[in-house]
């Protein structure tokens, strides 16, 4: 086995072991944070170094190509920036912190494995590893009266997740029945020769369900707002950003199999895209809890991403990948502010952000940029991504989808603007004190704003990379 092909995963594995050891020691706060940060940086560094690595491992079940490496790179950078958010993890009791980081790392490991898996069982195990870790992270929040019980959120998450996994497993068995193999590269030709019979189509659609759950696509979205609201701010930052890009990546691999009944799959993806956009945007309009609002808006964004998937063409999927990358950074920027502003890790309502521009101009700026970016205003990545998705969808003949998406963009502006309005035009409460963000948070803020802006102004290199990556995966 070539160790360098597996280097990022090895680093993470070592990190997991280290975190596990920390659960046995007394080190609870700073040492622990520093250690996890080192793991994050090492993971990011190895991911970047291995960006152009190529090869297969574990009897072909694990493929290292530009596609998987790009996803790992984005994920690792996002994760490292996320670790910089606060001087401590406010919503998690000190006693639980080593376990918190341990499960965070195992979830990340699961996601990393998922992005390279090209065999159904490996894929399933990786998915479950990441999901179960997250199911455990949600109820770790220290409960308080003012919030929806974290336990309720966790149980909802678990039940929906397990159901989605079950359906996905069922789809896998179906596909195994048709293709006689669990390897994607062997399934692909079998699916092509299977023609437009119903069986491969049903199998494929069930296979999609697992990823739809992760992405919170309508009607697999029910968990999202509750979990966003119930989990601690840091956990939500993770759940809202990093698993999404992996879900997009795996969905992209599955889309390559969509040859039987291509029209049906495209139609289904289009329908789900429209439903997600409309439902997510309309329900987000009336939310007052910022995290819950972001949860609903996440459903809408999943709809935008599905627009790229619905083209079932290489560059359409590349733009979806590009958009998901941008989405990750935009979301992290928003959560950075929530994590820093929230005094004791509680949920913030839009009102709590009133007058933030007075309390901390920098945080207000970061939040403003992320909101405008999520709303799809140029010159940020949210606009460029949406623009490319719209162009791709129109080119693939989904004119109605484009028009509905455009109208949805306009609807979405309203609730993002509510946040900006609270930040910039409303007066802060009398007892609101200035916030001086911790140096790590400041660095993360600058990096995230830079990334959101740079990806929007100069999308070419990322887009080319995504294109090549999709070619490598297909």
């Amino acid at each position: 086995m070539n160790a360098h092909l597996f280097a990022p995963e090895l680093v993470l594995l070592a990190g997991c072991l280290l975190a596990f050891c920390m659960t046995l020691t007394e080190a609870r706060t700073q040492t622990l944070r520093l250690l996890v940060l080192c793991v994050g940086v090492a993971f990011a560094a190895t991911s970047v170094l291995c960006l152009f690595a190529k090869g297969t491992l574990f009897y072909g079940a694990y493929r290292v190509d530009l596609f998987s490496q790009l996803v790992k790179c984005v994920m690792s950078i996002g994760f490292t920036l996320m670790l910089l958010f606060g001087a401590d993890t406010k919503g998690i009791s000190v006693r639980m912190r080593p376990e918190y980081y341990f499960f965070l790392l195992t979830s990340l490991l699961g996601l990393t494995l998922l992005s390279s898996s090209v065999e159904l069982i490996t894929l399933f195990i990786a998915l479950e590893l990441s999901s179960y870790s997250l199911y455990l992270l949600v109820p770790m929040r220290t409960p308080s009266d003012s919030m929806r019980a974290p336990m309720e959120a966790a149980i909802k998450y678990l039940l929906f997740g397990v159901t989605a996994s079950g359906i996905m497993l069922f789809g896998m068995s179906w596909i195994f029945g048709i293709a006689g193999s669990t390897y994607l590269d062997q399934i692909l030709p079998a699916m092509r020769t299977a023609g437009s019979h119903a069986a491969p189509l049903v199998g494929l659609l069930m296979l999609f369900c697992g990823m739809f759950f992760k992405l919170a696509v309508f009607p697999f979205h029910f968990w999202a707002p509750d979990v966003y609201q119930g989990a601690s701010n840091d956990t939500t930052a993770f759940i809202a950003s990093i698993p999404k890009i992996v879900a997009v990546a795996v969905l992209a691999r599955f889309c390559a199999m969509a040859y039987p009944g291509e029209g049906h799959v495209a139609l289904l993806l289009t329908g789900l895209s429209i439903a997600s956009m409309c439902y997510g945007n309309l329900t987000a309009l009336v939310q007052t809890d910022v995290k819950r609002m972001l949860g609903f808006s996440g459903i809408a964004h999943a709809g935008y991403i599905l627009m790229g998937m619905a083209t079932l063409q290489g560059w359409g999927i590349a733009t979806a990948l590009y958009y998901a990358t941008g989405y990750l950074f935009m979301m992290l920027a928003a959560f950075l502010v929530l994590c820093v502003v929230s005094p004791d890790g509680r949920n913030l309502s839009i009102k709590d952000l009133n007058g933030l521009s007075r309390r901390s101009p920098m945080l207000a700026f970061v939040l403003g940029v992320s909101m405008f970016a999520l709303a799809g205003i140029p010159p940020f990545v949210g606009f460029m991504g949406k623009f490319m998705l719209l162009t791709g969808a129109w080119r693939a003949g989904h004119t109605a989808l484009v028009i509905i998406a455009a109208i949805n963009t306009a609807i979405g502006i309203y609730y993002y603007l509510q946040v900006v309005r609270a930040v910039y035009t409303e007066a802060a409460q009398h007892d609101a004190e200035p916030i001086v963000p911790y140096v790590g948070a400041r660095m993360a803020g600058i990096c995230l704003v830079g990334l959101v802006l740079a990806l929007g102004i100069a999308p070419e290199s990322m887009l080319q990379l995504a294109k090549e990556a999709v070619q490598a995966a297909w």
Partner: protein, 507 residues
């Protein structure tokens, strides 16, 4: 690329114009103290105005090409390019923008006391995006700059605005953005149809009638909201009234022009068939705007609201000129765009100066200023006369050309628009009468001291333009003529000629 005349100045003048303010904005946070920020912003905007001078002096007025052009690939995989250029249509708008910006800084000198740094950054970012919009020759570049402008403008109203700033800013943002969404759809549709985002390349192509109609309507909604044309104007009074002086000036002088610029740049040359088919409806909408704007302005007690509604009427004249679709009308429309920028910008500055002193914009509170502020009322008189299109001032030339153009195209429409000019006289003279000679309500007039040199200097260049354009409009008309002729040729529309009309009347 045969429609571009590449830049031969030896330096990329257009890029410098676009990015100089942005570079200036990057420096602002590093400056100590509020006054240094003001001085710096003034210097940057003045420098930009100086840099723009060669555009006018070195522009070839006999050519309809896009001059000083720059062309670089931007997003190669989507065939998006960074292409800038100016022709006779955009040249004057670029010049006006660079002229207005230093005046906005001067007009905000005392008016803005809180968060000066952020304010000046917003102004500079605005300048970058506004200039970029007038120069962009690529649809994506155009759209990015068109939309990017919303953020600083939103903040200008939302942070430094009046009591109802929150409402006004959100209304402004949502309205214009809703329009922009249609613009985006039109852009994507054109790209799918032709495979390019290059604006000149998209002009004069053959599109099916249905496609033209859909694209035209999408463009039209976006631009009509920006102009704003009746009945899409409801965001404008709120935004104007609540915005700080500089915001109102930018809105009136530059932002509204982007809508009419869009008509000239996109609707007529790219979808001429649809535009010609809808001409009567568009002309009547313009007339409705003229009359509605005039009548509502007549009923206003708030000076800023009065000028805001008068803008609806004036912009109605501009769209009437555009949709007359003949040489006179187009020349008048483009000239009137500049005129409105100069005059209404100046009037908003004037209102801001009163507001700075008395913290009121009510006509009754500003009554009888002639006694206390002779220099001020002199300026106000000239700008008001210009606004009501008094002969010898700039607007007279513009309105005359527009009405002449409209008359050649559709006599009934032109006749119906004429009361608009009368209404303008009515509301402007009413304002002047109250402000200059009206009885004072307010016993304490001690705060109403006359203009200082900074304020006088702010208004002086605008007054110079009022008379320059009013007395010798030829240098301005000369630069726009070839481009407008080319535009008319692209639409392929032959309006009833003057001769035929004369014959008709003689019969």
């Amino acid at each position: 690329m045969d429609f571009l005349s590449m830049n031969t100045l030896g330096y990329p003048i257009l890029s410098i114009l676009v990015f100089l303010p942005l570079a200036g904005a990057v420096i602002v946070p590093l400056l100590p103290g509020e006054n240094s920020v003001r001085v710096w912003t003034l210097l940057v905007t003045l420098a930009n105005a100086v840099v723009s001078m060669p555009l006018f002096t070195r522009f070839n007025p006999t050519s309809a090409l896009y001059q000083f052009a720059e062309h670089h690939p931007w997003i190669a995989s989507f065939n998006v390019n960074y292409t800038l250029g100016v022709d006779g249509i955009s040249l004057l708008l670029v010049m006006m923008t660079t002229l207005i910006m230093p005046l906005c800084v001067l007009g905000s000198w005392k008016y803005i006391q809180k968060r000066v740094k952020e304010f000046m950054i917003c102004l500079l970012v605005m300048e970058t995006s506004m200039l970029g919009v007038f120069m962009a020759l690529d649809l994506v570049l155009f759209y990015v700059l068109w939309e990017a402008m919303l953020i600083p403008m939103y903040l200008l109203i939302a942070v430094w605005g009046g009591p109802r700033k929150s409402y006004a800013s959100i209304k402004f943002f949502l309205y214009t953005l809703a329009g922009s969404v249609f613009l985006l759809v039109a852009i994507v549709a054109l790209y799918i149809n032709q495979g390019t985002f290059s604006i000149p390349a998209l002009m004069g192509q053959q599109y099916s009638e249905r496609f033209q109609l859909l694209v035209f309507l999408a463009f039209f909604i976006a631009f009509a909201i920006k102009v704003p044309m009746f009945p899409f104007h409801t965001w404008l009074p709120a935004a104007h009234v609540e915005a700080p002086t500089a915001g109102s000036v930018i809105l009136a002088s530059v932002l509204l022009k982007m809508g009419t610029y869009g008509f000239l740049r996109f609707c007529l040359p790219i979808t001429p068939g649809a535009a010609i088919g809808l001409l009567p409806a568009l002309q009547w909408l313009s007339v409705a705007g003229i009359l509605y704007g005039g009548l509502t302005a007549l009923a206003q007690q708030d000076m800023k609201k009065l000028i805001a509604y008068s803008s609806v009427g004036h912009m109605g004249f501009v769209t009437l000129g555009i949709f007359a679709l003949n040489q006179r009308g187009l020349e008048g429309a483009l000239l009137q765009m500049i005129n409105h920028g100069v005059t209404t910008g100046a009037l908003f500055l004037c209102v801001g100066m009163v507001y700075e002193r008395s913290h009121s914009r009510e006509l009754s509170d500003a009554a009888g200023l002639g006694k206390f502020m002779p220099i001020y009322v002199t300026y106000l008189t000239f700008f008001s006369l210009s606004s009501l299109a008094f002969p010898g001032t700039n607007s007279f030339v513009g309105e005359f050309l527009i009405l002449a153009g409209a008359f050649f195209n559709n006599k009934i429409v032109a006749v119906c628009a004429i009361p608009g000019a009368v209404l303008a006289a009515a509301y402007m003279l009413r304002m002047l009468q109250r402000v200059i000679w009206g009885g004072t309500n307010n016993p304490d007039q001690s705060c109403m001291y006359d203009l200082g040199w900074r304020e006088a200097v702010t208004l002086a260049p605008l007054l110079a333009f009022v008379f320059w354009i009013g007395l010798a409009p030829e240098p301005f008309l000369r630069v726009m003529r070839p481009s407008l002729d080319h535009l008319l040729a692209q639409t392929g529309y032959h309006a009833p000629s003057a001769l035929a009309l004369a014959e008709l009347i003689a019969r």
